[in-house]
């Protein structure tokens, strides 16, 4: 069955689909066919559920209010028609399925607490400059970093440490 899981992984072709979670306001960019033309349509709303995991069989549901009427659209994670998913607002929820929002009307309809730290902080740091990247700790990560730097032909960061030590002695 190990073979099966690797087969399923190969078929899950959309990458970069694991940044969003339940409670986020998103814009889903979907390719649609109009006669002979193909164009991107945006469906924006709140993610109210993630079902069957994030593999080939996984789906997520986006809920939005259209002229006072709730509309839910279910997207498979790995549908080739999905161009990308953009987060417009990070949400923090205490449930994995936001079915309770279906009973809400008006302003409250898609109200979810905003997420400040955690996943948002990490993703925003990744988007920002690479210097801000959090260094992975541990022997394995260190060895990998060293290997990568050597492959790039840059000096290993070990020297930095030595210099610092020297400075210390002088002072």
């Amino acid at each position: 069955m190990q073979l099966m899981s690797s087969i399923e992984k190969e078929n899950a072709k959309n990458t970069g689909m694991d940044h969003f979670d339940v409670g986020d306001m998103v814009e889903v960019h979907v390719w649609i066919v109009e006669g002979e033309k193909r164009r991107v349509q945006i469906f924006s709303g709140l993610i109210t559920r993630i079902k069957h995991g994030r593999g080939v069989r996984g789906t997520f549901t986006v809920r939005r209010i259209v002229s006072g009427l709730g509309v839910e659209r279910i997207f498979p994670f790995h549908c080739p028609n999905i161009e990308k998913v953009e987060i417009t607002r990070y949400g923090k929820t205490r449930r994995s399925k936001l079915y309770y929002l279906r009973d809400r009307i008006g302003k409250e309809a898609l109200k979810v607490k905003e997420l400040i730290g955690g996943r948002r902080k990490r993703q925003e740091a990744e988007k920002g400059s690479s210097e801000k990247k959090v260094k992975k700790r541990g022997k394995k990560a260190k060895a990998e970093r060293k290997k990568r730097l050597e492959a790039e032909g840059k000096a290993a960061p070990k020297k930095k440490g030595k210099k610092k030590k020297g400075k210390g002695k002088k002072a």
Partner: protein
């Protein structure tokens, strides 16, 4: 080229078409099979067929052919093939020559659009007529007491006995079933995988016989 192969059901999953459609597929491990015996008009059998062996018969320690009778071991030794878990006979078409020890892979299905898959269905035990023979149920209310029973089994006068073959409750499942004309979605020669559209009989991990569809 042979038209039949022994395989194994792995699992159902889904794959995507370029257009964004989902195709429900069953992934089959088809082969590789080794030829254990060849039967032709010249041999004493008098008809054309090959005996295919599938999966080495190994213990968890890797010893081959343990718990096998001397006769069986001798049969494999004769053709210089490792002892196999499953041995099945398939027809040998005219103009195809194979010798014992040859390997047959999933590539025989490369140019075929549809396959038939034979397997043993999941056992369901003793079942009533509704599940077993698709009878309809009686009303649950309005004073009815006829819920899931088989109903009348025959006449009173004249016939005055139950006809043979009357659909009755009994054992259901664990029988050989062939699912015909399944579309071949993909053939992966490297890993001996065959993707067919739709379901095949039996649980995951059960052995199957796969042949080029006789309907196409």
């Amino acid at each position: 080229m042979l038209t039949e192969l022994i395989g194994k059901k792995l699992q159902m999953t889904q794959v995507w078409k370029e257009s964004g459609e989902i195709v429900p597929v069953t992934v089959l491990q088809a082969g590789p099979c080794q030829v254990v015996q060849v039967k032709t008009e010249e041999t004493k059998d008098g008809y054309r067929a090959v005996q295919l062996g599938f999966e080495d018969k190994k213990t968890s320690k890797g010893t081959l052919g343990k718990n096998m009778s001397k006769a069986e071991k001798g049969h494999f030794a004769k053709s210089k093939v490792d002892p196999k878990r499953l041995v099945q006979e398939v027809p040998l078409p005219e103009g195809t020559s194979l010798k014992s020890g040859d390997t047959v892979t999933v590539e025989i299905f490369k140019e075929c659009s549809h396959v038939d898959v034979t397997g043993t269905t999941k056992g369901r035990g003793f079942q009533g007529v509704i599940k077993r023979h698709d009878f309809s149920r009686g009303p649950k209310s309005h004073g009815s007491k006829h819920y899931r029973g088989p109903g009348s089994t025959g006449q009173h006068q004249g016939m005055s006995k139950v006809r043979k073959g009357k659909h009755m409750p009994g054992h259901y499942g664990s029988e050989q079933v062939t699912t015909m004309h399944l579309e071949v979605v993909k053939v992966e020669a490297e890993r001996n995988l065959l993707y067919v559209k739709g379901a095949v009989p039996g649980p995951s991990g059960s052995y199957l016989k796969i042949r080029k569809s006789i309907l196409s």
